[in-house]
């Protein structure tokens, strides 16, 4: 009964809001529809509607998946500085971080589903009913890590919200322990995802020990960028009190992450270009193109340039502490990492292919639409969850109030 009340109340909540909120919803729904109709083509005709082919057999979808694993991981890793620097609204940071992580993992799974040829056979991966190739296949590892991570985060955040909703004390000890477990898990999911690529000797571009560290560093650039903006919005529209200082500290940490990423990448580039073996081809394709095949070059340089501007904006204290430039930087770094993971990480792994042939890949319109569908649905889910969470945490949306209201309505009815 209480659960039904909660659902009813929440539905009302997510349907109410300012004009800006409706505009945002409308935008997301329109995008999801546009994307969804593109995805229908793929469902009918198969993956031939993508630009993937035997040479480049993984591409934009798996890149999006990788990017979102990074978001999911970074959302939780942000809890570490929150503890260390003792930012006041730590509970709130945990809640919103976990909500982001949950949505990101769900989107990850969605990207896998659209990428595989037979999504209905998903159950073949499970133990007992299927024949899971554990522990040999990194993909089984990844699947289980992601699932475990989803369950852990979902548990914590529902427990927290549920307790507040019922005006009960939440179980501090348990929550703290689980959050502490979820931090290494966050590192874990991203590392395992890096190992997915890393473990393939056939693909020299990925077969570098620096791949996993670079993954983590770049995730720590993009993940907090979303939260940075979210925190500012929350601060404006709710009682969420996060000090400027905390936001600047996040930005500062992001600079470190960017610096580490830059360093790792330069180390990688030095090794490749100075030794100048055949493996240099993949980097050449990424940065300059090979022969006439230069289609991917704009992607990689736009990512580099956006990342670089963000780095500078975050590095200089003056622009870091100015919220306009700070937000520009956050959007730029998010976009930069997105292009880096979506295209620049995956495509050179396959181009030139294992037999030295070049198949020029750029995402097809179906791929872009399908990705747009997943992102807009994911953001829609995130928006709704955040809306409900805001009401519970800041606006005193709770069970006793709902019951009281119901009673008063009833008594009014009876007096009439």
């Amino acid at each position: 009964m209480n659960f039904i009340r909660f659902i009813n109340g929440s539905i009302k909540l997510i349907l109410q809001g300012s004009k800006a909120y409706y505009a945002w919803l409308f935008f997301l729904v329109a995008l999801a529809l546009w994307g969804g109709f593109g995805y229908i083509d793929q469902l009918q005709d198969g993956l031939i509607t993508t630009n993937m082919r035997d040479s480049v057999s993984w591409a934009f979808y798996i890149g999006n998946f990788t990017f979102l694993v990074g978001i999911a991981a970074a959302a939780i890793m942000l809890v570490i500085p929150a503890y260390i620097y003792d930012w006041k609204p730590i509970k709130e940071i945990v809640i919103f971080g976990e909500l982001l992580a949950v949505c990101a993992v769900i989107m990850c799974i969605a990207f896998i589903v659209v990428d595989i040829g037979n999504p209905m056979r998903f159950w073949h991966m499970l133990p007992l009913v299927g024949t899971m190739n554990f522990p040999y296949s990194m993909l089984s590892w990844d699947f289980f890590f992601l699932l475990a991570y989803l369950i852990i985060n979902l548990t914590v955040v529902t427990h927290l919200l549920y307790s507040i909703f019922h005006k009960k004390e939440y179980n501090k000890k348990v929550v703290q322990v689980i959050v502490l477990i979820s931090i290494p898990m966050a590192v874990g999911i991203h590392t395992v995802t890096a190992f997915l690529y890393n473990a393939l000797p056939a693909r020299p571009f990925w077969n570098s020990a620096l791949l996993a560290p670079r993954f983590l560093a770049s995730a720590f650039c993009s993940g907090p960028a979303i939260l940075l903006i979210l925190f500012q919005i929350l601060r404006k529209i709710t009682k969420f009190e996060i000090k400027d200082k905390a936001i600047w500290t996040i930005a500062e940490l992001m600079v470190y992450a960017m610096f580490i990423y830059l360093f790792f990448t330069i180390a990688e580039l030095f090794k490749e270009f100075y030794s100048g073996t055949e493996h240099i081809l993949y980097w050449k394709y990424l940065l300059f193109g090979i022969g006439d095949s230069k289609e991917i070059v704009p992607y990689s340089w736009s990512s580099i340039i956006m990342g670089f501007i963000a780095f500078v904006l975050f590095l200089i204290p003056k622009t870091r502490k100015n919220f306009v430039t700070l937000n520009i930087g956050a959007v730029l770094i998010y976009a930069s990492v997105y292009v880096e993971k979506g295209i620049a990480l995956i495509i050179p792994g396959f181009t030139p292919d294992v037999l030295g042939q070049i198949y020029v890949y750029t995402p097809s319109i179906t791929e872009i639409r399908t990705a747009a569908m997943i992102f807009s649905l994911g953001f829609l889910l995130f928006t709704f969850l955040v809306k409900i969470a805001i009401a519970i945490v800041f606006e005193n949306y709770n069970i006793s109030d709902i019951i009281k209201k119901e009673k008063s309505v009833k008594s009014e009815m009876s007096t009439i």
């Binding site: 198969g46 031939i48 035997d54 299927g130 190739n133 040999y136 296949s137 393939l200 030295g356």
Partner: protein, 296 residues
């Protein structure tokens, strides 16, 4: 009592509803059975027989022809290997098309299990400077030699290790096969194979019914479906019956040799003994069962 009844009727309703849904989607029991079919390697002989009978029936209805689908297992004391004479191959691609016909590869979208690479004599075996799309009026072209590549039937295959569902594995006679009904189409194996030997059915495969090879093996050349991976099986439907692979038979210059590694009298053993052989990308430790050599 009442509760029980309502529950039962609820169950009944659910099953009725799901049947209706199934009927609406045009799903019949056979398809459902196929959907729940388990990994080929976990099936009993009886189950395999049933599945194969069903398949033959299904193909007959679909293509209006008689088919023999075999599930013949590997023979004892047999380990297949292949050798290719690089000094003979002229790059005519006869093997490519013989393979397409024999193994029922999709004509559209086009799938070729064998890729013939044209290489520059001056560069030696150098993939980065090779070309699969060479198209002169006459082969061989001056200054070039040809290197056909298909699955190398690695002794240490990386494609099978990475498969998350064990849909692909190595048979006792060394042939790496795929269970098309079990593959989820994740394409991890394609990323892992260092020889570009695995091919994906990006769309619904199309083969003209009159061109279908009706002599099939379950793990080999039976028609595939959209969204699964396929690869060279050394013509499993032929070699397990003691025949040569199609490409060996068709090669006009006799560049292709095939045999049983465990048989001291076989041609393959003769080549290993008397010619110097090489394997591709030996540094990856895949240990191919596909050798290249220079016969003259």
């Amino acid at each position: 009592m009442k509760k029980d009844k309502s529950r039962r009727s609820l169950l009944k309703n659910i099953s009725l509803a799901s049947f209706a849904a199934l009927a609406a989607t045009g799903c019949n029991m056979k398809e459902l059975e196929e959907f729940f079919q388990r990994n080929f390697r976990t099936l009993s002989d009886k189950e395999k027989d049933d599945i194969i009978n069903n398949l033959e029936q299904k193909y007959k209805e679909k293509y209006d022809k008689e088919f023999q689908v075999s599930a013949q297992a590997a023979m004892d004391q047999v380990e297949f290997a292949y050798a290719l004479d690089l000094s003979r191959c002229v790059g005519c691609r006869k093997c490519v098309y013989a393979c397409v016909g024999e193994n029922n590869q999709s004509r559209s979208p086009q799938i070729h299990w064998i890729q013939v690479l044209q290489m520059e004599k001056e560069k030696g075996i150098d993939f980065a400077h090779s070309d699969v799309h060479y198209n002169p009026e006459k082969v061989p072209e001056k200054g070039h030699f040809y290197l056909p590549v298909a699955c190398q039937q690695c002794q240490n295959p990386q494609c099978t290790t990475v498969c998350p569902v064990k849909a692909t594995w190595q048979e006792p006679d060394g042939i790496v096969v795929v269970d098309y009904n079990w593959c989820i189409g994740c394409r991890y194996c394609m990323a892992a194979c260092p020889y570009g030997a695995r091919h994906f059915n990006w769309g619904e495969p199309e083969i003209p019914a009159e061109e279908l090879n009706t002599d099939m093996h379950y793990l080999g050349n039976r028609p595939r479906m959209k969204g699964v991976v396929e690869k060279c099986t050394f013509c499993i439907q032929r070699v397990r019956k003691g025949k040569y692979p199609s490409c060996v038979e068709v090669c006009p210059v006799g560049a292709r040799k095939f045999g049983n590694l465990l048989d001291p009298e076989s041609e393959i053993r003769y080549i290993l003994e008397n010619k110097r052989v090489l394997v591709l990308k030996e540094e990856l430790n895949t240990q191919p069962r596909f050798y290249y050599f220079f016969g003259v």
